[in-house]
Protein backbone atom coordinates (compact mmCIF):
# COMPACT_ATOMS: atom_id res chain seq x y z
CA UNK A 1 0.00 0.00 0.00
CA UNK A 2 1.41 3.32 -1.06
CA UNK A 3 -0.41 6.15 0.57
CA UNK A 4 1.40 8.98 -1.15
CA UNK A 5 -1.68 11.08 -1.70
CA UNK A 6 -0.99 14.67 -0.83
CA UNK A 7 -3.59 16.62 1.02
CA UNK A 8 -6.26 17.39 -1.50
CA UNK A 9 -8.68 20.25 -1.46
CA UNK A 10 -12.03 19.31 -0.04
CA UNK A 11 -14.50 19.46 -2.89
CA UNK A 12 -16.96 22.30 -2.82
CA UNK A 13 -20.23 20.56 -3.13
CA UNK A 14 -23.04 22.17 -1.24
CA UNK A 15 -23.18 25.27 -3.35
CA UNK A 16 -26.60 26.40 -4.53
CA UNK A 17 -28.34 23.05 -4.18
CA UNK A 18 -32.06 23.55 -4.62
CA UNK A 19 -31.82 27.14 -5.73
CA UNK A 20 -31.21 26.82 -9.42
CA UNK A 21 -33.77 27.58 -12.09
CA UNK A 22 -33.76 25.53 -15.27
CA UNK A 23 -34.36 26.91 -18.76
CA UNK A 24 -37.82 26.11 -20.08
CA UNK A 25 -36.52 23.62 -22.64
CA UNK A 26 -34.70 21.68 -19.95
CA UNK A 27 -37.82 21.72 -17.79
CA UNK A 28 -39.90 20.28 -20.63
CA UNK A 29 -37.37 17.53 -21.32
CA UNK A 30 -37.09 16.71 -17.64
CA UNK A 31 -40.86 16.62 -17.34
CA UNK A 32 -41.06 14.25 -20.30
CA UNK A 33 -38.54 12.00 -18.60
CA UNK A 34 -40.60 11.97 -15.42
CA UNK A 35 -43.74 11.09 -17.38
CA UNK A 36 -41.80 8.39 -19.20
CA UNK A 37 -40.92 6.78 -15.88
CA UNK A 38 -44.33 7.27 -14.33
CA UNK A 39 -46.52 6.08 -17.21
CA UNK A 40 -45.71 2.36 -17.12
CA UNK A 41 -46.55 2.26 -13.44
CA UNK A 42 -49.78 4.12 -14.06
CA UNK A 43 -50.52 1.54 -16.73
CA UNK A 44 -50.15 -1.22 -14.19
CA UNK A 45 -52.32 0.60 -11.67
CA UNK A 46 -54.91 1.19 -14.37
CA UNK A 47 -54.91 -2.46 -15.40
CA UNK A 48 -54.90 -3.84 -11.85
CA UNK A 49 -57.87 -6.02 -10.87
CA UNK A 50 -58.53 -4.16 -7.63
CA UNK A 51 -61.48 -6.37 -6.68
CA UNK A 52 -59.37 -9.52 -6.61
CA UNK A 53 -56.16 -7.87 -5.50
CA UNK A 54 -56.37 -8.93 -1.88
CA UNK A 55 -57.12 -12.58 -2.55
CA UNK A 56 -54.29 -12.76 -5.11
CA UNK A 57 -51.93 -11.00 -2.72
CA UNK A 58 -52.60 -13.38 0.12
CA UNK A 59 -52.54 -16.48 -2.04
CA UNK A 60 -49.92 -19.06 -1.18
CA UNK A 61 -48.17 -18.76 -4.51
CA UNK A 62 -47.74 -14.99 -4.22
CA UNK A 63 -46.52 -15.09 -0.63
CA UNK A 64 -44.14 -17.95 -1.37
CA UNK A 65 -42.56 -16.08 -4.27
CA UNK A 66 -42.33 -12.84 -2.30
CA UNK A 67 -40.76 -14.55 0.70
CA UNK A 68 -38.22 -16.32 -1.51
CA UNK A 69 -37.42 -13.11 -3.36
CA UNK A 70 -36.75 -11.19 -0.16
CA UNK A 71 -34.74 -14.03 1.35
CA UNK A 72 -32.54 -14.51 -1.72
CA UNK A 73 -32.01 -10.83 -2.46
CA UNK A 74 -30.98 -10.11 1.14
CA UNK A 75 -28.52 -12.99 1.14
CA UNK A 76 -27.18 -11.83 -2.21
CA UNK A 77 -26.73 -8.33 -0.84
CA UNK A 78 -24.90 -9.73 2.17
CA UNK A 79 -22.63 -11.78 -0.04
CA UNK A 80 -22.04 -8.81 -2.30
CA UNK A 81 -21.01 -6.70 0.71
CA UNK A 82 -18.83 -9.43 2.23
CA UNK A 83 -16.79 -9.92 -0.93
CA UNK A 84 -17.45 -6.62 -2.64
CA UNK A 85 -16.14 -4.25 0.03
CA UNK A 86 -12.68 -5.84 0.15
CA UNK A 87 -12.70 -5.91 -3.65
CA UNK A 88 -13.55 -2.22 -3.79
CA UNK A 89 -10.85 -1.55 -1.21
CA UNK A 90 -8.32 -3.38 -3.38
CA UNK A 91 -9.37 -1.59 -6.55
CA UNK A 92 -9.43 1.84 -4.92
CA UNK A 93 -6.24 1.75 -2.92
CA UNK A 94 -3.77 -0.71 -4.41
CA UNK A 95 -2.00 -0.07 -7.67
CA UNK A 96 -1.17 -3.24 -9.49
CA UNK A 97 -0.60 -4.10 -13.13
CA UNK A 98 -3.85 -4.80 -14.91
CA UNK A 99 -6.02 -3.11 -12.33
CA UNK A 100 -8.19 -1.63 -15.07
CA UNK A 101 -8.70 -5.06 -16.58
CA UNK A 102 -9.59 -6.56 -13.21
CA UNK A 103 -12.09 -3.80 -12.61
CA UNK A 104 -13.63 -4.38 -16.03
CA UNK A 105 -13.82 -8.10 -15.36
CA UNK A 106 -15.46 -7.64 -11.98
CA UNK A 107 -18.09 -5.30 -13.34
CA UNK A 108 -18.74 -7.11 -16.61
CA UNK A 109 -21.74 -8.96 -15.22
CA UNK A 110 -23.45 -5.62 -14.71
CA UNK A 111 -23.58 -4.86 -18.43
CA UNK A 112 -24.01 -8.40 -19.72
CA UNK A 113 -27.49 -9.50 -20.69
CA UNK A 114 -28.52 -11.46 -17.58
CA UNK A 115 -29.31 -14.53 -19.66
CA UNK A 116 -25.67 -14.58 -20.79
CA UNK A 117 -24.63 -14.43 -17.15
CA UNK A 118 -26.92 -17.39 -16.47
CA UNK A 119 -25.55 -19.45 -19.33
CA UNK A 120 -21.99 -18.63 -18.26
CA UNK A 121 -22.70 -19.64 -14.66
CA UNK A 122 -24.24 -22.84 -15.99
CA UNK A 123 -21.02 -23.87 -17.72
CA UNK A 124 -18.88 -22.81 -14.77
CA UNK A 125 -20.86 -24.04 -11.78
CA UNK A 126 -23.40 -26.44 -13.29
CA UNK A 127 -23.25 -30.17 -12.74
CA UNK A 128 -21.10 -30.61 -15.86
CA UNK A 129 -19.45 -27.20 -15.56
CA UNK A 130 -15.80 -26.28 -15.34
CA UNK A 131 -15.81 -26.21 -11.54
CA UNK A 132 -19.28 -27.56 -10.90
CA UNK A 133 -18.38 -31.09 -12.00
CA UNK A 134 -15.92 -31.35 -9.12
CA UNK A 135 -18.41 -29.96 -6.64
CA UNK A 136 -20.74 -32.73 -7.76
CA UNK A 137 -18.11 -35.48 -7.84
CA UNK A 138 -16.38 -34.66 -4.57
CA UNK A 139 -19.17 -33.28 -2.45
CA UNK A 140 -22.33 -34.45 -4.24
CA UNK A 141 -23.34 -30.82 -4.31
CA UNK A 142 -24.90 -29.02 -7.27
CA UNK A 143 -26.02 -25.42 -7.47
CA UNK A 144 -28.60 -25.35 -10.27
CA UNK A 145 -32.20 -25.81 -9.15
CA UNK A 146 -31.37 -24.77 -5.60
CA UNK A 147 -32.10 -21.63 -3.61
CA UNK A 148 -28.34 -21.24 -3.19
CA UNK A 149 -28.11 -21.21 -6.97
CA UNK A 150 -30.53 -18.27 -7.03
CA UNK A 151 -28.39 -16.41 -4.50
CA UNK A 152 -25.26 -17.12 -6.53
CA UNK A 153 -26.90 -15.84 -9.72
CA UNK A 154 -28.17 -12.73 -7.98
CA UNK A 155 -24.82 -12.03 -6.34
CA UNK A 156 -23.07 -12.41 -9.66
CA UNK A 157 -25.13 -9.70 -11.34
CA UNK A 158 -25.62 -7.44 -8.30
CA UNK A 159 -22.17 -7.20 -6.70
CA UNK A 160 -20.69 -4.79 -9.28
CA UNK A 161 -23.18 -2.13 -8.25
CA UNK A 162 -21.83 -2.28 -4.71
CA UNK A 163 -18.20 -2.52 -5.77
CA UNK A 164 -18.34 0.52 -8.04
CA UNK A 165 -20.19 2.62 -5.51
CA UNK A 166 -17.93 1.70 -2.61
CA UNK A 167 -14.80 2.12 -4.70
CA UNK A 168 -15.93 5.58 -5.68
CA UNK A 169 -16.61 6.46 -2.05
CA UNK A 170 -13.18 5.19 -1.03
CA UNK A 171 -11.51 7.28 -3.71
CA UNK A 172 -13.29 10.39 -2.55
CA UNK A 173 -12.39 9.84 1.04
CA UNK A 174 -9.90 12.21 2.57
CA UNK A 175 -7.15 9.80 3.53
CA UNK A 176 -5.66 12.07 6.17
CA UNK A 177 -7.87 10.57 8.88
CA UNK A 178 -6.66 7.11 8.04
CA UNK A 179 -3.07 8.31 7.91
CA UNK A 180 -3.50 9.90 11.31
CA UNK A 181 -4.91 6.71 12.78
CA UNK A 182 -2.04 4.72 11.31
CA UNK A 183 0.57 7.05 12.77
CA UNK A 184 -1.09 6.55 16.13
CA UNK A 185 -0.37 2.86 15.85
CA UNK A 186 -3.66 1.39 14.65
CA UNK A 187 -3.52 -1.71 12.50
CA UNK A 188 -4.78 -1.68 8.93
CA UNK A 189 -7.86 -3.71 9.83
CA UNK A 190 -8.58 -1.48 12.80
CA UNK A 191 -8.30 1.67 10.70
CA UNK A 192 -10.50 0.16 8.04
CA UNK A 193 -13.20 -0.86 10.49
CA UNK A 194 -13.15 2.18 12.76
CA UNK A 195 -12.19 5.02 10.41
CA UNK A 196 -12.71 4.09 6.79
CA UNK A 197 -15.95 2.12 6.99
CA UNK A 198 -17.83 4.71 9.07
CA UNK A 199 -16.66 7.44 6.70
CA UNK A 200 -17.90 5.66 3.60
CA UNK A 201 -21.10 4.46 5.24
CA UNK A 202 -23.39 6.44 2.89
CA UNK A 203 -21.61 5.04 -0.15
CA UNK A 204 -21.73 1.56 1.30
CA UNK A 205 -25.44 1.79 1.99
CA UNK A 206 -26.11 3.26 -1.43
CA UNK A 207 -24.16 0.43 -3.04
CA UNK A 208 -25.93 -2.18 -0.96
CA UNK A 209 -29.33 -0.76 -1.88
CA UNK A 210 -28.46 -0.74 -5.57
CA UNK A 211 -27.17 -4.29 -5.36
CA UNK A 212 -30.27 -5.37 -3.45
CA UNK A 213 -32.58 -3.74 -5.99
CA UNK A 214 -30.75 -5.45 -8.82
CA UNK A 215 -30.91 -8.81 -7.03
CA UNK A 216 -34.60 -8.40 -6.29
CA UNK A 217 -35.34 -7.74 -9.95
CA UNK A 218 -33.04 -10.42 -11.29
CA UNK A 219 -34.72 -12.65 -13.86
CA UNK A 220 -32.54 -13.86 -16.74
CA UNK A 221 -29.61 -15.32 -14.86
CA UNK A 222 -31.92 -16.92 -12.31
CA UNK A 223 -34.21 -18.70 -14.74
CA UNK A 224 -31.28 -19.86 -16.86
CA UNK A 225 -29.02 -21.02 -14.07
CA UNK A 226 -31.31 -21.89 -11.18
CA UNK A 227 -34.45 -22.94 -13.03
CA UNK A 228 -37.96 -22.26 -11.89
CA UNK A 229 -39.74 -24.04 -9.06
CA UNK A 230 -42.17 -22.48 -6.59
CA UNK A 231 -40.73 -22.11 -3.11
CA UNK A 232 -37.22 -23.08 -4.17
CA UNK A 233 -36.10 -21.01 -7.14
CA UNK A 234 -39.20 -19.20 -8.35
CA UNK A 235 -38.62 -15.61 -7.27
CA UNK A 236 -41.12 -12.82 -7.91
CA UNK A 237 -39.87 -11.90 -11.39
CA UNK A 238 -40.09 -15.53 -12.50
CA UNK A 239 -43.54 -15.93 -10.99
CA UNK A 240 -44.65 -12.76 -12.74
CA UNK A 241 -43.28 -13.90 -16.08
CA UNK A 242 -45.05 -17.24 -15.94
CA UNK A 243 -48.35 -16.12 -14.45
CA UNK A 244 -48.50 -13.43 -17.12
CA UNK A 245 -48.98 -16.25 -19.63
CA UNK A 246 -51.73 -17.99 -17.73
CA UNK A 247 -53.26 -15.39 -15.47
CA UNK A 248 -52.36 -11.77 -16.35
CA UNK A 249 -54.42 -10.41 -13.43
CA UNK A 250 -52.17 -12.17 -10.96
CA UNK A 251 -49.08 -10.99 -12.84
CA UNK A 252 -50.20 -7.38 -12.52
CA UNK A 253 -50.82 -7.66 -8.78
CA UNK A 254 -47.46 -9.39 -8.21
CA UNK A 255 -45.75 -6.69 -10.25
CA UNK A 256 -47.31 -3.99 -8.12
CA UNK A 257 -46.14 -5.70 -4.95
CA UNK A 258 -42.59 -5.87 -6.26
CA UNK A 259 -42.73 -2.23 -7.30
CA UNK A 260 -44.15 -1.18 -3.95
CA UNK A 261 -41.40 -2.99 -2.05
CA UNK A 262 -38.61 -1.57 -4.22
CA UNK A 263 -40.05 1.92 -4.34
CA UNK A 264 -40.59 1.97 -0.60
CA UNK A 265 -36.98 1.12 0.08
CA UNK A 266 -35.63 3.57 -2.48
CA UNK A 267 -37.76 6.40 -1.10
CA UNK A 268 -36.85 5.61 2.48
CA UNK A 269 -33.14 5.63 1.75
CA UNK A 270 -32.76 7.90 -1.19
CA UNK A 271 -32.65 11.30 0.33
CA UNK A 272 -30.26 10.23 3.01
CA UNK A 273 -27.89 8.10 1.02
CA UNK A 274 -28.39 7.88 -2.70
CA UNK A 275 -28.65 11.58 -3.39
CA UNK A 276 -25.42 12.94 -1.95
CA UNK A 277 -23.19 10.02 -1.33
CA UNK A 278 -20.44 12.11 0.25
CA UNK A 279 -19.56 11.77 3.89
CA UNK A 280 -22.04 13.76 5.95
CA UNK A 281 -19.36 15.03 8.28
CA UNK A 282 -16.24 16.80 7.19
Amino acid sequence: MTETAPARPVAVRHRRVGQERLPVAAMILAGTAIAFFALPFLGLLWRAPWGDAWSILTSDSALTALRLSLWCSLWATGAAALFGVPLAWLLARVSFPGRGLVRALCTLSMVLPPVVAGVALFYALGRRGLVGQYLDRWFGFTLPFTTTGVIVAQTFVAMPFLVLTVESALRQLDTRFEDAARTLGASRWYVFRRVTLPAIRPGLIAGAVLAWARALGEFGATITFAGNFPGRTQTMPLAIYLTNEGNPDEAVVLSLVLIAVSFGVLVALRDRFLGGGHPPTT
Binding site: T2, T4, A5, R8, A11, A92, R93, S95, M110, V111, L112, P113, P114, V115, F122, G126, R127, R128, T142, P144, F145, V157, P160, F161, L164, T165, S168, A169, R171, Q172, A206, G207, L210, A213, R214, G217, F219, G220, I223, A226, G227, N228, F229, P230, R232, T233, Q234, Y241, L242, T243, N244, E245, G246, P248, L274, G276, G277, H278
Partner: protein, 275 residues
Amino acid sequence: MSRRSQPFLIPVAALALIAAACGDDDDSAATTAETSAVETTEAPATTEPGVAGDTTVFAATSLTDAFTEVGDAFSAAYPDATATFSFDGSSALVQQIIQGAPADVFASADMANMTKLTDADLNGTEPEIFATNLLTIIVAPGNPLGITGVADLTDPAIKVVTCAAEVPCGNYADQIFAAAGVTVTPVSLEQNVGGVRTKVVEGEADAGIVYVTDVIAAGDAAEMVEIPADINVVAQYPIATVAASTDQAVDEAFIDFLAGPDGRAILADYGFGAP
Protein backbone atom coordinates in the same frame (compact mmCIF):
# COMPACT_ATOMS: atom_id res chain seq x y z
CA MET B 1 0.18 6.86 -9.50
CA SER B 2 -2.61 9.32 -9.59
CA ARG B 3 -5.90 8.23 -8.24
CA ARG B 4 -8.03 11.27 -8.18
CA SER B 5 -11.58 11.24 -7.12
CA GLN B 6 -14.19 10.21 -9.62
CA PRO B 7 -17.44 12.08 -9.72
CA PHE B 8 -20.16 10.50 -7.64
CA LEU B 9 -22.20 9.79 -10.71
CA ILE B 10 -21.55 6.11 -10.58
CA PRO B 11 -24.74 5.16 -8.73
CA VAL B 12 -26.70 7.08 -11.33
CA ALA B 13 -24.92 5.34 -14.16
CA ALA B 14 -25.51 2.09 -12.38
CA LEU B 15 -29.24 2.72 -12.23
CA ALA B 16 -29.24 3.36 -15.95
CA LEU B 17 -27.52 0.06 -16.45
CA ILE B 18 -30.19 -1.75 -14.49
CA ALA B 19 -32.65 -0.56 -17.04
CA ALA B 20 -30.37 -1.54 -19.90
CA ALA B 21 -29.77 -4.96 -18.47
CA CYS B 22 -33.45 -5.63 -18.04
CA GLY B 23 -34.33 -4.79 -21.59
CA ASP B 24 -33.26 -7.93 -23.36
CA ASP B 25 -36.68 -9.58 -23.35
CA ASP B 26 -38.01 -7.44 -26.13
CA ASP B 27 -35.50 -8.33 -28.79
CA SER B 28 -37.63 -10.84 -30.64
CA ALA B 29 -40.62 -8.51 -30.65
CA ALA B 30 -38.48 -5.72 -32.05
CA THR B 31 -37.12 -7.88 -34.84
CA THR B 32 -40.53 -9.08 -35.86
CA ALA B 33 -41.78 -5.53 -35.82
CA GLU B 34 -39.14 -4.65 -38.39
CA THR B 35 -39.94 -7.53 -40.64
CA SER B 36 -43.63 -6.76 -40.65
CA ALA B 37 -42.92 -3.16 -41.48
CA VAL B 38 -41.01 -4.38 -44.52
CA GLU B 39 -43.89 -6.61 -45.46
CA THR B 40 -46.43 -3.84 -45.84
CA THR B 41 -44.28 -1.99 -48.33
CA GLU B 42 -43.15 -5.10 -50.16
CA ALA B 43 -46.41 -6.90 -50.67
CA PRO B 44 -48.37 -5.53 -53.53
CA ALA B 45 -51.70 -7.10 -54.34
CA THR B 46 -50.68 -10.00 -56.49
CA THR B 47 -52.52 -12.17 -58.92
CA GLU B 48 -53.36 -15.74 -58.20
CA PRO B 49 -50.22 -17.73 -59.12
CA GLY B 50 -47.60 -15.43 -57.64
CA VAL B 51 -47.55 -15.45 -53.85
CA ALA B 52 -45.37 -12.60 -52.67
CA GLY B 53 -44.45 -10.95 -49.41
CA ASP B 54 -43.43 -12.05 -45.97
CA THR B 55 -45.41 -13.86 -43.33
CA THR B 56 -44.35 -13.68 -39.71
CA VAL B 57 -45.10 -16.98 -38.03
CA PHE B 58 -45.24 -17.28 -34.23
CA ALA B 59 -44.68 -20.96 -33.58
CA ALA B 60 -44.28 -23.25 -30.58
CA THR B 61 -40.71 -24.07 -29.55
CA SER B 62 -41.14 -27.73 -30.52
CA LEU B 63 -41.64 -26.63 -34.13
CA THR B 64 -38.32 -24.77 -34.34
CA ASP B 65 -36.33 -27.15 -36.53
CA ALA B 66 -39.21 -28.38 -38.66
CA PHE B 67 -40.60 -24.91 -39.38
CA THR B 68 -37.19 -23.50 -40.21
CA GLU B 69 -36.90 -26.10 -42.92
CA VAL B 70 -40.51 -25.62 -44.03
CA GLY B 71 -39.75 -21.90 -44.34
CA ASP B 72 -36.80 -22.58 -46.65
CA ALA B 73 -38.90 -24.92 -48.78
CA PHE B 74 -41.71 -22.35 -48.85
CA SER B 75 -39.34 -19.69 -50.19
CA ALA B 76 -38.02 -22.15 -52.73
CA ALA B 77 -41.55 -22.90 -53.93
CA TYR B 78 -42.57 -19.23 -53.95
CA PRO B 79 -39.46 -17.18 -54.77
CA ASP B 80 -41.17 -13.90 -53.90
CA ALA B 81 -42.42 -15.10 -50.54
CA THR B 82 -40.62 -15.57 -47.25
CA ALA B 83 -41.58 -16.76 -43.81
CA THR B 84 -40.05 -15.20 -40.70
CA PHE B 85 -40.31 -17.09 -37.43
CA SER B 86 -40.49 -16.32 -33.76
CA PHE B 87 -40.29 -19.41 -31.57
CA ASP B 88 -41.23 -19.61 -27.90
CA GLY B 89 -43.65 -21.40 -25.61
CA SER B 90 -47.16 -21.22 -27.08
CA SER B 91 -48.45 -19.46 -23.97
CA ALA B 92 -45.83 -16.71 -24.27
CA LEU B 93 -46.54 -16.27 -27.97
CA VAL B 94 -50.30 -16.01 -27.66
CA GLN B 95 -49.84 -13.47 -24.88
CA GLN B 96 -47.58 -11.43 -27.17
CA ILE B 97 -50.12 -11.57 -30.00
CA ILE B 98 -52.93 -10.46 -27.69
CA GLN B 99 -50.71 -7.55 -26.65
CA GLY B 100 -50.33 -6.56 -30.30
CA ALA B 101 -47.14 -8.29 -31.42
CA PRO B 102 -46.94 -8.26 -35.22
CA ALA B 103 -47.67 -11.91 -35.90
CA ASP B 104 -49.36 -13.03 -39.09
CA VAL B 105 -49.72 -16.73 -38.32
CA PHE B 106 -49.88 -18.55 -34.98
CA ALA B 107 -48.95 -22.23 -34.65
CA SER B 108 -49.62 -23.55 -31.15
CA ALA B 109 -48.62 -26.80 -29.51
CA ASP B 110 -52.07 -27.19 -27.96
CA MET B 111 -55.68 -26.11 -28.43
CA ALA B 112 -55.82 -24.29 -25.09
CA ASN B 113 -53.49 -21.51 -26.19
CA MET B 114 -55.07 -21.32 -29.65
CA THR B 115 -58.41 -20.89 -27.89
CA LYS B 116 -57.03 -17.82 -26.13
CA LEU B 117 -56.54 -16.30 -29.59
CA THR B 118 -59.98 -17.26 -30.89
CA ASP B 119 -61.67 -16.20 -27.64
CA ALA B 120 -60.09 -12.77 -28.07
CA ASP B 121 -61.47 -12.78 -31.63
CA LEU B 122 -57.99 -12.17 -33.01
CA ASN B 123 -57.79 -15.09 -35.44
CA GLY B 124 -58.19 -14.64 -39.20
CA THR B 125 -58.80 -18.16 -40.44
CA GLU B 126 -60.38 -20.86 -38.30
CA PRO B 127 -57.72 -22.97 -36.52
CA GLU B 128 -56.93 -26.25 -38.24
CA ILE B 129 -54.85 -29.12 -36.90
CA PHE B 130 -51.75 -29.60 -39.05
CA ALA B 131 -49.65 -32.02 -37.01
CA THR B 132 -49.61 -34.23 -33.95
CA ASN B 133 -46.87 -35.16 -31.55
CA LEU B 134 -46.35 -37.60 -28.72
CA LEU B 135 -44.75 -37.02 -25.35
CA THR B 136 -41.75 -38.98 -24.18
CA ILE B 137 -39.14 -39.12 -21.45
CA ILE B 138 -35.81 -37.63 -22.50
CA VAL B 139 -32.65 -38.99 -20.84
CA ALA B 140 -28.90 -38.80 -21.37
CA PRO B 141 -27.40 -41.01 -24.10
CA GLY B 142 -27.22 -44.61 -22.94
CA ASN B 143 -29.83 -43.96 -20.23
CA PRO B 144 -27.22 -44.13 -17.42
CA LEU B 145 -29.82 -44.23 -14.66
CA GLY B 146 -31.79 -47.03 -16.31
CA ILE B 147 -35.08 -45.17 -16.33
CA THR B 148 -37.84 -47.39 -17.69
CA GLY B 149 -40.97 -45.28 -17.33
CA VAL B 150 -42.72 -42.42 -15.59
CA ALA B 151 -42.95 -44.42 -12.35
CA ASP B 152 -39.16 -44.13 -12.03
CA LEU B 153 -39.39 -40.36 -12.13
CA THR B 154 -40.85 -40.29 -8.62
CA ASP B 155 -37.42 -41.20 -7.23
CA PRO B 156 -36.20 -38.04 -5.51
CA ALA B 157 -32.61 -38.89 -6.49
CA ILE B 158 -33.54 -38.40 -10.14
CA LYS B 159 -33.60 -34.77 -11.22
CA VAL B 160 -36.64 -34.29 -13.40
CA VAL B 161 -37.51 -31.15 -15.36
CA THR B 162 -40.81 -30.45 -17.07
CA CYS B 163 -42.42 -27.41 -18.59
CA ALA B 164 -44.48 -25.12 -16.38
CA ALA B 165 -48.19 -25.90 -16.35
CA GLU B 166 -48.95 -22.77 -18.40
CA VAL B 167 -46.95 -24.13 -21.34
CA PRO B 168 -48.49 -26.98 -23.40
CA CYS B 169 -45.68 -29.45 -22.69
CA GLY B 170 -46.16 -28.87 -18.95
CA ASN B 171 -49.88 -29.35 -19.20
CA TYR B 172 -49.35 -32.61 -21.11
CA ALA B 173 -46.77 -33.81 -18.58
CA ASP B 174 -49.27 -33.25 -15.77
CA GLN B 175 -51.88 -35.23 -17.70
CA ILE B 176 -49.46 -38.11 -18.17
CA PHE B 177 -48.47 -38.18 -14.50
CA ALA B 178 -52.15 -38.16 -13.55
CA ALA B 179 -52.94 -40.97 -15.99
CA ALA B 180 -50.04 -43.01 -14.61
CA GLY B 181 -51.14 -42.27 -11.05
CA VAL B 182 -47.73 -40.94 -9.99
CA THR B 183 -46.63 -37.77 -8.24
CA VAL B 184 -43.47 -36.32 -9.70
CA THR B 185 -41.73 -33.34 -8.14
CA PRO B 186 -39.58 -31.70 -10.80
CA VAL B 187 -36.52 -29.68 -9.86
CA SER B 188 -37.53 -27.01 -12.34
CA LEU B 189 -40.55 -25.93 -14.37
CA GLU B 190 -39.18 -24.50 -17.60
CA GLN B 191 -40.89 -21.82 -19.65
CA ASN B 192 -40.65 -23.76 -22.89
CA VAL B 193 -39.80 -27.26 -24.05
CA GLY B 194 -36.40 -26.11 -25.32
CA GLY B 195 -35.44 -25.37 -21.71
CA VAL B 196 -36.26 -28.94 -20.69
CA ARG B 197 -34.30 -30.40 -23.59
CA THR B 198 -31.25 -28.23 -22.88
CA LYS B 199 -31.21 -29.09 -19.19
CA VAL B 200 -31.11 -32.81 -19.98
CA VAL B 201 -28.76 -32.59 -22.97
CA GLU B 202 -26.30 -30.50 -20.92
CA GLY B 203 -26.49 -32.98 -18.07
CA GLU B 204 -27.96 -30.59 -15.53
CA ALA B 205 -31.04 -32.77 -15.14
CA ASP B 206 -31.44 -36.53 -15.45
CA ALA B 207 -34.79 -36.75 -17.20
CA GLY B 208 -37.50 -34.57 -18.65
CA ILE B 209 -40.86 -34.78 -20.35
CA VAL B 210 -40.60 -33.51 -23.92
CA TYR B 211 -42.04 -34.25 -27.34
CA VAL B 212 -40.81 -37.18 -29.38
CA THR B 213 -39.70 -34.61 -31.97
CA ASP B 214 -37.37 -32.98 -29.43
CA VAL B 215 -35.46 -36.19 -28.81
CA ILE B 216 -35.21 -36.81 -32.55
CA ALA B 217 -33.88 -33.28 -33.01
CA ALA B 218 -31.32 -33.78 -30.24
CA GLY B 219 -29.74 -36.60 -32.26
CA ASP B 220 -26.95 -38.38 -30.39
CA ALA B 221 -27.11 -35.99 -27.46
CA ALA B 222 -30.16 -37.63 -25.92
CA GLU B 223 -32.22 -40.77 -25.85
CA MET B 224 -35.90 -41.44 -25.32
CA VAL B 225 -37.77 -43.69 -22.95
CA GLU B 226 -41.17 -44.23 -24.50
CA ILE B 227 -44.35 -43.52 -22.63
CA PRO B 228 -46.98 -46.21 -23.34
CA ALA B 229 -49.95 -45.14 -25.45
CA ASP B 230 -52.52 -45.77 -22.70
CA ILE B 231 -51.10 -42.97 -20.54
CA ASN B 232 -49.57 -40.84 -23.30
CA VAL B 233 -51.13 -37.73 -24.77
CA VAL B 234 -51.46 -36.95 -28.46
CA ALA B 235 -50.56 -33.29 -28.76
CA GLN B 236 -52.60 -31.56 -31.45
CA TYR B 237 -50.95 -28.62 -33.19
CA PRO B 238 -53.43 -26.05 -34.53
CA ILE B 239 -52.52 -23.19 -36.85
CA ALA B 240 -54.45 -20.05 -37.84
CA THR B 241 -53.79 -16.65 -39.32
CA VAL B 242 -53.93 -13.59 -37.12
CA ALA B 243 -56.73 -11.15 -37.94
CA ALA B 244 -54.42 -8.14 -37.77
CA SER B 245 -52.24 -9.47 -40.58
CA THR B 246 -52.36 -7.16 -43.57
CA ASP B 247 -51.67 -9.85 -46.14
CA GLN B 248 -53.76 -12.94 -45.51
CA ALA B 249 -52.90 -14.32 -48.98
CA VAL B 250 -49.29 -15.09 -48.15
CA ASP B 251 -50.27 -16.28 -44.68
CA GLU B 252 -52.75 -18.76 -46.09
CA ALA B 253 -50.25 -19.81 -48.75
CA PHE B 254 -47.87 -20.75 -45.94
CA ILE B 255 -50.54 -22.75 -44.12
CA ASP B 256 -51.54 -24.52 -47.35
CA PHE B 257 -47.91 -25.29 -48.09
CA LEU B 258 -47.50 -26.69 -44.60
CA ALA B 259 -50.54 -28.93 -44.98
CA GLY B 260 -49.56 -29.90 -48.52
CA PRO B 261 -47.30 -32.81 -49.48
CA ASP B 262 -44.03 -30.85 -49.15
CA GLY B 263 -44.81 -29.47 -45.72
CA ARG B 264 -46.16 -32.78 -44.47
CA ALA B 265 -43.04 -34.62 -45.64
CA ILE B 266 -40.79 -32.23 -43.72
CA LEU B 267 -42.94 -32.50 -40.60
CA ALA B 268 -42.81 -36.29 -40.85
CA ASP B 269 -39.01 -36.15 -41.13
CA TYR B 270 -38.89 -34.42 -37.78
CA GLY B 271 -41.20 -36.96 -36.17
CA PHE B 272 -44.54 -35.18 -36.31
CA GLY B 273 -47.64 -37.25 -37.00
CA ALA B 274 -50.36 -36.44 -39.50
CA PRO B 275 -53.55 -34.98 -38.05
